[in-house]
Structures are given as structure tokens and as C-alpha cells.
Amino acid sequence: MKVSPGALALKYVFVLLAAAVVLYPLLWMVTMAFKPYPEWTTVSGLTWFPKNPTLQNFEFIFYGEAEGLVVSLDRTIVGPLISSLVTSICGTLLAVVSGTLASYAVVRFGLAQSLPLSVLQLRLFPPLAVMIPVMVMWAFIGAVDTWWGLSLIYGIVTLPFAFWLMKTFFEEVPVEIEDAARVSGCSYWRVFYRITLPIVKPGLATCALFVFILNWSDYLLALLLTQKDWVTLPVYMATLTSAMGGQMYGMKAALGVIAAIPPVVFGLMIQKHLVRGLTFGALKQ
């Protein structure tokens, strides 16, 4: 296609502008995380890059105190970091395993044809509209503020994504391959386990990463179902935000950076499949 240099230049202007808007808040947070106290506010002038780069903000949130700071932190990031990792991973496992099995049954055996829409409905409602009974249940089974209680709800709310994503991957596996194996004497289980699963392995990995991102990003459920021991990173971040007062920007930024890294990295890894995941397989790229 012919593109005149003028049009191309104009395109770059827009693209660069858009990129700048996207990067502005991100960059601000990242550079803020490396700025020492005096560079945080307009009071002594703002600069994009730290004049005296420092790691003290990270030091502070990991050790609870840092060189040159009087304030200290009673709870460091370590606990919430572990909590976020454990609950996100367990929730992901639950969602991916049950979603994979169920979608395979729906795709291959034609079972429960209403299941796809039912699981989709889980995503439709504001969680807060249905949370009271859930919290009561969780309290009843002793699941509040436990790793498994949070993992369980994570597994449930991300199940629709896992289910639909795996459904599209299974639909892409030609049924002939499975038939061929079955004709040669394989049981259904063996066909599933030895033939189909290996074929959809990349899809499975995509699905797991995608669901992990969703779980990691949760704030509300952890806010409602944890109190202290299994508080996750976003909840910790939010409480710390006010705990440290309105002005401890550097530490907040450092926290934000740490919380933001895994999903951004994983997200870029599965870029190709994001559309499929986010639209429940309605669209592919």
C-alpha cells in the first residue's frame, strides 16, 4: 500500500502521542519508586528522572525501615507477596483444571450445552451484589483469611475465563485425530491425556498465565475475604497507602511497581491470545 511520507509522519505523531499518554503514569510511578524523599512533590520541584536515584523505597517496603528514614513499617511486603503468589497460583490451578475438563466434555461429548452460558453469567454481576452470602459461607467453613479460602473463590470467579479459553483451544483440535487414535484402540481417557492435552499444551499455558493475571489483579475479593494473615498485595498496597499518610509517594510507587510487574510481563508473553481470552473466545487474533 502506498503511504505518503506526510501521512506516515502524521501517523507517527499520533502513535507517539498515544504512547506518551500510556507511558506517562507508568513512567511516573517507576521513576517515583527510585526517588528519594525530597524529590517527591512540587515543593522542591519535580523532575522526570531521579536526581539522586535510590533504592531506599524498596528497602523500606521489604525491610520495614530504611537508611535515612525515621518512619518504620510494622508489616513488610513479604507476607502479602507470598499470599498473592500462593492464592493466585492455587486459584489458577483450580480454575484451569476444572475449566479444562469441563470444556473438553462440552466440546467433545456434547454434554451440558447450557454450561457455557451459565459460567459466563458468573462474570456478569457486580461481585458486591452477591457477596454477603458468600462471606457468610466462607466464615461458616472457616475459609476467611486462609490461603485456600481465597484460592477457592479465585478459582470460581476465573473459571469462566479458563472454561471459555480452553473451549476455543479444544475446538481447534481436529476431531479426526482423536477418532484415529480411538479407532486404534485408545480409551477416551487415553485419547484425552495422551493425544489432545499435548496438542493444546500451548493453549493450556496461555490459559494458565491469563487466569493468573486475573487472580493477581484482584482487589475486591481479597478485601472482603482476608483480614490479616493472607492479605494480598493490592489490599496491602491500599491499606498502606493511607497508613503511610498522603505523602509517602516513593514507597507507594515502589509497591505499585512490584505489584504491576508480573501481570505486565505475563500479559506481553501471551499478547497473541489476549483477545481470545478477554472476549471469552468470541474473537481470535
Binding site: V70, V71, V136, A139, A243, G245, G246
Partner: protein, 542 residues
């Protein structure tokens, strides 16, 4: 919370450690780490004392033995530990801004309150912070769906009723009888037995542990009031001399006068009182309480709201009118922004929490003034209305950080003992002086303490107790959150011009009636009647 950082960045930690080490070395204590384990610790006590902070001048004022409330608590713990009924750890949900008061050493050379407790009992205190406005939500979350995560809840005193009726708090009456805290001590504790009842009991039983002094106290910019040009201008404009106000009428006159004036510090706004959602209710309640002599109650004897009575509507109209003299964005102010307004000399007066002066008047360790208002602030008695030759000065008790024992705690007695220790007059006085947080003074002993006076300033040492004596409780029974929110919404609607004061009060009246009706079976009318009895009747000569 803008204020906590004020304390955050004084001298660097290294410097800080250096000075405290030096102080400790001077008193023969060794380094900070050696300090906890040092056998020299016991030698730091004044004769006859068995516990308490050491290592600074005057520490003996906060030390105790087993004849004192704190000592009895420690003794009780020891007994529980011997019986195997004490926990290893007590976890406490606490408002963020107050944590430092328990965990930060004060003054130089001293340990923190937490360190003293842990040293003496071996029971670790695990503090989990939450924002002040939200903390009661978190409390209720734990009460309704939690699993014994916290041994201690803290939150606004007003919410005690809600917590008790939801079954979330432990009734401590037996413990109180057993361990005899000194809260009501006629010399050191609350000024009156009624006040003890108000702060520590609900429906006749002990539930709450008072850790704050949120009696809205009047502060003004003495340095501006006393200027001759200001005096002249005021006289010229109003025909009155500018003095500290005694009545709401005078308050409004001063507010009107200052609004839009510039006395060399930028444009001023006359009304510094809180008008925003949640926090502004205190201002309304204070004005409401003095509408009649000696008090105008929120409810009549039978539990019917007084909101849309003539006096109620008049109060609402005055309240709404006073909004025109507020600084811009006043509807978004929390106390922190209101403090800042006074520190920046934007408002001439305000009735507000007392740590306004703790954080904003005086000097930082590095010698810089804490704010522009340093040295200019004064304090006066609450205002009321003149009835004949008497004035019913009224303030209001609102928010007021209070601790409760979670009914899910496995060791309520041990937890009780910790809270008794923490809230007894010696420990609390010591903590109240600590600028690490916003627990405000309220016990008589607090106001006699030089360390408290040094942070809260001499001028407030008389007005705060006088204010306490003239304070009415805000709503403090089950249904409080709903009642407060209903009224709050309507007042906000009136202030922002969506409704007239009368319409707003009519609507609020209806909402309150509905809540009362629904809560009747839970004894809300009795609670209202009990609350009415705790209102002070003290009046002053005009």
C-alpha cells in the same frame, strides 16, 4: 492523612538512633538492642515501682506497682500465664494514624509502650493498621464474617452500640470488677463518674476502652484577633469588640467578618468548622445541643427525633448559612485539611480535634516552626446560647478512638488486661504526650502532665477539660451508623442547595423515624433515654 508525615521526616533515622543511644548511654542503659535485655532495666524504676517506662527524665511519673491499675493488669497477666490462659500474641486492629503512639519511643531515650508491655509480659502485640474513616467497616467485616482474626478492634466511640448489638464486643464488667482500672479515678481519671459511664460503658456494662479525647475544642488565631488593625476593622464593621465568642451568634458574626478579608496572610474564610460529610456532623450536633436550655436533645423522652422541630430547623438554617463563610472545597475536608487551613492562617477559628495544636503549633526538633500558625494559636471555651444571664456552652464528643475486645478472641481476659494497662492513667498519659499519633488527652492526669502540655500547649490545658465537662455525646447507640448517615445526607443536600433546610430536616426526620421504628424491638428507645441522661447540665454565667 497529611499530618502523620509531619512527624515522619524529622531527623534521619541514623541521627535519631545516635541521639537516643547517647541518651541511653548517659542513663547507663547501653545501646538500643542491649536495652531490652539489660538487667539494668529494673534499676531504672523509681523506688517502690515495679514496671513502666524508663530511661528518660520524669519516667517515674508513668511507673507503677501492683497497687495501681497498670500494675494490677501486669499481675493479672502473670497469673493467667501461670494458669496457661494467656496468649503468645495479641493482635490489634488500629487506626493507622495512632499506631506510632504505641510503637514509637517517646520521649528521647524511652522505650515505646509496646516494648514496655512486651518486656514485662512477654506477650507480643501485633498491630494491623486501617484508615480511620474505614476502620469500623473492617471491624464489622470481622464481626460478621471473620474468624477471630483480631483480639482487639478499635474504631469510633459512637459505634460501640452497633458493635455491642451485633454481638461483636466482649462485656468486660466482670473484668472491671476484678481488676479495678483507674479510669474513673477522681484525681486522675475522667472528671465525672458520668463521663466514665459515657466513655467506657454501654447499656450499663463495660465494653469500650477509651483511647482518645475527641471533644471538639475551639481554637482561634490569637495572633490575629489581638492585632490592632483587626480589632479596629471589626469594631467599625460590626459595632462590637473582637473577643473570643461565647455564643453561636458571635461565632457567626466573626465568621462573616473574616470572610474575604486579607490581613497579610492571604484571603481568609471565617468558618473553619468541619462541614464535610461524616466529619461535619459534629459541627451540626454541637450547634443543635445548645438550641434550648440547658440542652436541646436529638430525641425527646419517647425517642421521637427532634430534627424537624422549629428549633431543629432553625439550627439547620444557621448551619447551612454558615457554609457561605467556608473555604473552597470545605465539603471535602477531613480534619487534616481543616488543620492545614488554620496552619496556613486561612481560617480564624475552628472547633476541632485537639491534636490540631499538637501537629501545628510549636517547633520541630530541627528548630523549624511546625506551621505558619506557630505561636499564634489560642483556645477558648465552647460556645452556646444566652438564656437570661446564663450561657449553655456545649461541645460534642464525636469519633473518639475506642478499643473493644473481639468476642471471637480466645483470650478475652488477657486481652482485657492489655487494654486496661494501655488505657490506665499512667500509660495513657505517657502515650498522650507522644507525638507519634493522634490519641488525644482526656483524663485529668493527662492535663497535669508536662509532657502532654509540651505537645498540646499550655493554653489548651484548661480549655480541653472545660470542654470535656460541657460536651454532649453524639449518637452512640445501636443504629448509629444508619442514623448518622441519614442525617448527614440530608444536611449535605441542604448545604449544596438541593433542598431547603426545612425540607432536609423533614426528610431526615422521616428517615430517623423509620430507623427508630425498626430498631424498637432492640431497645433503641431505652438507649436514647439512657443517652439523654449522660448529657451535662453545667451552664455558665453570661
Amino acid at each position: 492523612m497529611k499530618t502523620d508525615t509531619k512527624k515522619g521526616f524529622g531527623p534521619s533515622r541514623r541521627e535519631f538512633l545516635k541521639t537516643s543511644t547517647a541518651a541511653m548511654a548517659a542513663s547507663g542503659m547501653g545501646g538500643l538492642s542491649a536495652f531490652v535485655a539489660s538487667p539494668a532495666f529494673a534499676n531504672g524504676f523509681a523506688p517502690g515501682m515495679t514496671g513502666g517506662p524508663t530511661g528518660f527524665e520524669g519516667a517515674e511519673r508513668f511507673q507503677y506497682n501492683n497497687t495501681m491499675s497498670e500494675g494490677r493488669a501486669i499481675e493479672g497477666i502473670k497469673a493467667l500465664q501461670a494458669a496457661g490462659k494467656a496468649p503468645k500474641k495479641i493482635s490489634m486492629l488500629l487506626t493507622d494514624g495512632a499506631i506510632g503512639q504505641i510503637t514509637k519511643p517517646f520521649p528521647d531515650g524511652a522505650p515505646s509502650a509496646k516494648e514496655v508491655w512486651e518486656k514485662e509480659t512477654g506477650i507480643e502485640i501485633d498491630i494491623i493498621g486501617a484508615p480511620a474513616e474505614d476502620i469500623f467497616k473492617k471491624v464489622m467485616q470481622d464481626v460478621t464474617t471473620g474468624d477471630g482474626t483480631f483480639d482487639i478492634y478499635t474504631g469510633p466511640w459512637n459505634s460501640t452500640g452497633d458493635l455491642v448489638s451485633s454481638g461483636g464486643a466482649v462485656n468486660c464488667s466482670d473484668f472491671v470488677a476484678k481488676y479495678q482500672p483507674d479510669w474513673g479515678d477522681s484525681e486522675r481519671g475522667t472528671p465525672t463518674p458520668e463521663m466514665e459511664q459515657l466513655l467506657y460503658t454501654y447499656a450499663g456494662d463495660y465494653y469500650s476502652f477509651s483511647l482518645d479525647g475527641d471533644f471538639q475544642t475551639w481554637f482561634y488565631l490569637k495572633g490575629i484577633y489581638e492585632r490592632e488593625d483587626v480589632q479596629e476593622a471589626f469594631m467599625k464593621e460590626t459595632g462590637h469588640a473582637l473577643t473570643t465568642p461565647n455564643t453561636w451568634e458571635e461565632v457567626d458574626r466573626i465568621s462573616e467578618f473574616f470572610t474575604g478579608k486579607d490581613f497579610g496572610h492571604g484571603t481568609m474564610y471565617g468558618n473553619g468548622n468541619l462541614m464535610s460529610p461524616f466529619w461535619g456532623l459534629a459541627t451540626f450536633y454541637a450547634r443543635f445541643a445548645s438550641m434550648d436550655f440547658p440542652n436541646y436533645h436529638f430525641f425527646d423522652e419517647d425517642g421521637n427525633p427532634n430534627l424537624n422541630s422549629d428549633l431543629g430547623i432553625q439550627c439547620a438554617e444557621e448551619h447551612v448559612r454558615s457554609f457561605e463563610w467556608c473555604p473552597p472545597d470545605a465539603l471535602t475536608f477531613t480534619w487534616a485539611e481543616a488543620y492545614a487551613a488554620m496552619w496556613n492562617l486561612q481560617i480564624p477559628h475552628t472547633a476541632i480535634y485537639t491534636n490540631l495544636v499538637k501537629f501545628g503549633d510549636g517547633y520541630n526538633p530541627d528548630g523549624t516552626a511546625k506551621s505558619k500558625a506557630t505561636g499564634m494559636i489560642g483556645s477558648h471555651l465552647p460556645v452556646g446560647r444566652q438564656f437570661g444571664d446564663q450561657i449553655n456552652r456545649r461541645s460534642v464528643l464525636y469519633y473518639h478512638i475506642t478499643a473493644w475486645i473481639s468476642s471471637k478472641s480466645d483470650y478475652p481476659e488477657a486481652v482485657y488486661l492489655f487494654l486496661q494497662w494501655l488505657s490506665s492513667t499512667r500509660t495513657y498519659t505517657w502515650m498522650a504526650g507522644n507525638p507519634g499519633g493522634y490519641f488525644d488527652p482526656m483524663q485529668q492526669a493527662n492535663f497535669k502532665e508536662p509532657l502532654v502540655a509540651s505537645t498540646y500547649h499550655d493554653y489548651a490545658m484548661e480549655t480541653i477539660p472545660a470542654t470535656i465537662a460541657r460536651s454532649v455525646p453524639s449518637i452512640n447507640f445501636a443504629g448509629q451508623t444508619a442514623l448518622d448517615n441519614a442525617l448527614d445526607e440530608e444536611i449535605q443536600a441542604a448545604i449544596t442547595g438541593q433542598k431547603t433546610a426545612r425540607e432536609a430536616m423533614d426528610a431526615a426526620q422521616k428517615k430517623w423515624e423509620r430507623i427508630i421504628k425498626r430498631q424498637k424491638r432492640n431497645g433503641i428507645v431505652e438507649a436514647i433515654q439512657a443517652s439523654r441522661k449522660t448529657w451535662p447540665t453545667i451552664v455558665d454565667p453570661a
